[in-house]
Each structure stands twice: as C-alpha cells, then as structure tokens.
C-alpha cells in the first residue's frame, strides 16, 4: 500500500509501562510512520491500550504508573522532565473506545479544544467547527442542530463528533482505541472510510480486535502478545500486507488465522 518515502513520526525505545509493581508492557520498540495508519492487534489484556495511552501520556492519569524506556515524538522524548504534557496532548490526540461527547452542545464539543488554546472569536470558532465536522464526515448530518446536545446523537455520530473534537486542535497524531467496537457494521464502515481519509492529514495509530478491520484500514501492523509473566510484548511489526499474507513469526500466523487469542 505504501510507496513514498517514510518519515518516522513516533518511535518507542524499549518502552515498558508499570501499574504499581505489575509490568503491563515490556520493552516495546516500534516505529510509527507519518501519514500512515498503524494498527495494533493482539489478544485481550496484552497491553494495547496501555501502549496507546503511553504515546500521549494519558497513563499519567492512573496513579502509580511508571514508564521505562523512551517515546520519541519527532525525536524528542515526551517523558523528558522538561516536556510540557499539555503540548504533547495537543499534538497527539486520542479517540476512545466508547464515544464520550461532553455534556454540552455539538458546537461547544468541537470548540472545546480550540477555546482551551485561547481562540475566542465566534467567527473563527465557527469556521473551525465547520471544518472539523466536515473532516469527520459529520457536517451534513448536524449542521442544522449545532446547538443541540452532543449526547442526543447516535453512537456512530457521537464517535465522529469525538473525532471532530480531536481534529479541531489540529494534532499531528491521532490515537484510536477500538473506535468502532461499540458501533454497528454500517457506522463501523463509515469510521473506517474516515480513517483512510484522515490518513492524508494525520498520523494514525489504531487498536482493533477486528482482523479484517486492521487489514482494511492500516498500512502497518504491530502484533502484541502476552508473555508468561502477563506482560505484553511486541511479537512482530511489519507492513500490514506482509503481516496478513506472509508473517515472519509462527505466533502471528496463528493469531491472524484465529488459531489462538
């Protein structure tokens, strides 16, 4: 799927994450390329979400988490003491598994981020909101009810609203944690189309349990597994086509063909 030259956007070096004394992921080294979709697959509990959330320091919210190793965003370590966590989160946005619109109007949901960064002018905000909603393929469905609550939308619409909210602050990377698992097949398809479109503007990392989905939307795939100590580790990382047609590891082949996991 991939031809033009690759730029490395994120690189992890021997990344381990601990919840208290429990090691959730162990020594993960992986590269994530700009304007590509990278899928994270693997059995439940192997640390995909943990890995994803460590890429924008959302794990900081869980008490007693510790991180070893490095996460480089454009070659700067996001866990370096001098790094401003707000800046990291502005540059690396996230969409959650369950749609989580804020309890406010559709407009305010999307304008929430830009307002945080000091944009106050109504006309500017309106422009950002329209552009973001168009970007999330939601504009036509909500343009007449921007003042209605975001909670009054359908699940699929809510998830696209959350994507609009995320792209409104123009991040460089978008993390998605099983963004379609709470949605019906048609809503899922729309999200997948959207991901392919967003790829032109953003670098995307997506966790999914759905092999077909990984094959459909991603350019690269990282397969995680759980070790004997229950710590997740990276088994294989490669172009998605190769992972699904000619994996190097036996474990990968067994997983994608459904023989375990």
């Amino acid at each position: 799927m991939q031809t033009q030259t690759l730029t490395r956007k994120i690189e992890t070096e021997n990344l381990s994450v601990f919840y208290g004394s429990f090691k959730a992921i162990s020594d993960v080294s992986v590269e994530i390329y700009e304007n590509n979709v990278t899928a994270l697959i693997g059995p439940s509990g192997c640390g995909k979400s943990t890995f994803l959330r460590s890429l924008n320091r959302l794990n900081d919210l869980v008490p007693k988490t510790a991180v070893a190793g490095k996460v480089l965003l454009d070659d700067t370590d996001i866990y370096a003491p001098s790094q401003d966590v707000v800046d990291i989160r502005r540059r690396v946005g996230i969409v959650f598994q369950r749609p989580n619109p804020f309890p406010m109007s559709i407009f305010d949901n999307v304008a929430y981020g830009p307002r945080l960064y000091g944009i106050k002018k109504k006309s500017v905000l309106a422009e950002i909101v329209e552009e973001s909603l168009r970007g999330a393929a939601l504009w036509d469905e909500v343009k007449d009810k921007l003042d209605k609550s975001g909670l009054a939308l359908s699940g699929g619409q809510q998830q696209r609203l959350c994507i609009a909210r995320t792209i409104a602050i123009e991040p460089e990377v978008i993390l998605m944690d099983e963004p379609a698992s709470a949605l019906d097949p048609i809503a899922t398809l729309r999200i997948e189309e959207l991901i392919r479109k967003l790829r032109e503007r953003f670098t995307i990392v997506i966790v999914t349990h759905n092999m077909q989905q990984a094959a459909r939307v991603s350019d690269y795939t990282a397969f995680f597994n759980m070790g004997d100590d229950r710590a997740g580790y990276l088994v294989e990382f490669d172009e998605t086509d190769r992972i699904f047609t000619n994996p190097q590891q036996k474990l990968t082949e067994e997983y994608i063909t459904g023989r375990f996991g």
Partner: protein
C-alpha cells in the same frame, strides 16, 4: 445426556412453582411498599388537617403577636430559616464539592481516607453537639447570638451529607469523559467545571437538596446559636437601612448579626406554650416547614426535567 436428565424432572411443576413464588414475592414487595408509605401519608394528611386551618395570608406576612393574644404570623421564622439556610449553603456547598472532587480524583491517597473518615464521623455527631460547638466558638466570641452562627452550624451539618452524595455522583461519571477533556490538554480544574460537574449535575443537585432539607429541619443546634427572635424582619431592616442611608453591607451585616428564628425552632417553642392558640399555630408551622422542603424538592426535580429535555 442432558435430555435424559431433563426427561426425569417434571418441568411443568418447576414452572408452576416458579410462577407461584413470583406472585407471592411480588405481593410481598407491594405490601411492604404500602407499609412504608403509610407513615409518610399519615404524617402529611395529619399535618395538613391540623395545620391547614390556621394557614392564611396573615400567617405568612405578620410577626407573632404577644403571647396570650390571638392572630399573628410567622414571618420572622420564614425569613430566619431562609437566611440561615442560604448562609449554610454558601458556607458548605463550595467546600463540599471541592472535597468530593478531591475524593474522586485522588481516591486512595491518605488524605482522601482521612477526609472520608472524618466526614463519616461528622455525619454521626449529634446535631446538638454541633450547636454547642457553634455556641463556644462563635456566640461566646461575639458575645451575642446571631443568624450567622446559626448558618455556620447548619453548614457543618450539611457538609457531610453533600460531600458523600456528591462523591457518589461524581464516581458515576465515566472516567473516559474526564480523560477525554484532559487528553485535549485541558487543565484539571477546567475539566472539573466544564465536563465532570455538568455530567453529574443532576445527582449533585439532588444531594444538595437532601442537605438543604436536613438543615431546614434542624432545631437543636439553633437553640445555642440563633436563639430565636420574634422581631426578625428583613423588610424592616432594609427600610431602616434606606432611611439612614446605609450601605448594602451594613444592612446585610444587621441581617446576619441579629439573633434569628427558624421554622423548626418556632414550632418547638410554640408547641410547649400553655396557650392552646399557640399549640394550634405550631401545627401550622409544621405544615409550612413541610411545604417548604417539599417545594424545594419539586423545584429541583422540575429543573432537572427541564434540563434533560433541553439536552435532547
């Protein structure tokens, strides 16, 4: 194999028994519901009958007449209750909400356990003890009883009620909602005000109403702090302020600094009078008190319903 087992049991009998048990339990729960409602309805009807006779406009807009004479109202108690409950809310709700936020965001820190423990202890302190505390700390220091002192002790009584209910409600807010705001780079305080609080608003309001109802009904702590004041009349104090060209702060100061009456306090005092007229009036006070708390609850529910439909 499974078929073999099931061919041996009489399924019809199992089903029949299940239906019967279902009916009995349903009947039992219905009966319990009625039993639980009886005291409530009894109280409401009784107070309505006994107190309703004495309710008229004069009762609401006049101060009490001297003992032994007929007529007069309870304006002093209504206004005193309002002032002290407003004071108590102002003193207790902001710190209670902040404490509840702390408890939900720092669930298992030593300070959180300490707050939880002392909140539980505070909830268990008899209200008369809280009143004595107010007497010792405020009344003795100021050398006079006041609505302010009453407001403070009522605030102490409201505090644990609001903290615990607000904590429960904040806990119900999905963690990803908070994370979603923080992930956009929002600071914690903005996340709390703009996202978490609105998401939990309905439950928190209900909890606040519980606290207000509790404070409105308290008698004992006011005996030592607000004391009672047959001449407590806000309108008069404002008029005096205007006549003497005083600032709004002077007037507010007077409203807060005077001893004040409250509905439950008046009820308690009237009920012990040797004059039948007063005892009769105490039923009317009980009715006003009940309607006051009831209408607060209804207002809160209307607000919640309106907000819900506005969100749809």
């Amino acid at each position: 194999m499974a078929q073999d087992i099931f061919s041996q049991v009489n399924l019809q009998r199992v089903y029949r028994r299940r239906r019967l048990t279902n009916k009995i339990m349903l009947g039992l729960t219905g009966l319990m519901l009625v039993l639980a409602l009886i005291p409530l309805i009894w109280i409401i009807v009784y107070v309505l009958i006994k107190g309703g006779r004495h309710i008229n406009l004069d009762f609401f807009i006049h101060l009490p007449q001297p003992m032994g004479t007929t007529g007069g109202g309870i304006l002093h108690a209504i206004e005193g209750s309002l002032v002290m409950v407003v004071l108590a809310s102002v003193f207790s709700i902001p710190p209670a909400l902040l404490a509840a936020f702390y408890l939900t965001t720092h669930e298992s820190t030593p300070l959180a356990s300490a707050i939880r423990f002392s909140t539980d202890l505070l909830a268990g302190v008899p209200s008369i003890t809280v009143g004595l505390f107010g007497y010792a700390v405020i009344v003795l220091a100021q050398k006079h009883y006041s609505a302010l002192a009453g407001g403070v002790v009522l605030a102490i009584i409201m505090l644990p009620v609001v903290i615990r209910s607000a904590e429960e409600m904040l806990k119900l807010v999905p963690p990803d909602l908070r994370a979603g705001s923080l992930a956009l780079g929002a600071p914690e305080w903005k996340t709390a005000i703009k996202v978490v609080l609105p998401a939990a608003a309905e439950g928190i309001i209900t909890g606040i109403m519980l606290g207000v109802a509790r404070a409105t009904g308290e008698t004992a702590p006011l005996l030592f702090t607000a004391l009672g004041n047959d001449n407590y009349e806000i309108g008069k104090m404002i008029k005096q302020g205007i006549e003497h060209n005083q600032s709004i702060f002077d007037v507010l100061g007077r409203i807060f600094e005077q001893p004040a009456d409250a509905l439950p306090l008046t009820l308690w005092k009237y009920a012990q009078q040797p004059y039948p007229e007063r005892v009769e009036q105490s039923w009317a006070v009980a009715l006003v008190l009940m309607l006051f708390v009831l209408s607060l609850n209804i207002l809160a529910r209307v607000w919640i319903a309106r907000r819900r439909s506005a969100l749809q």
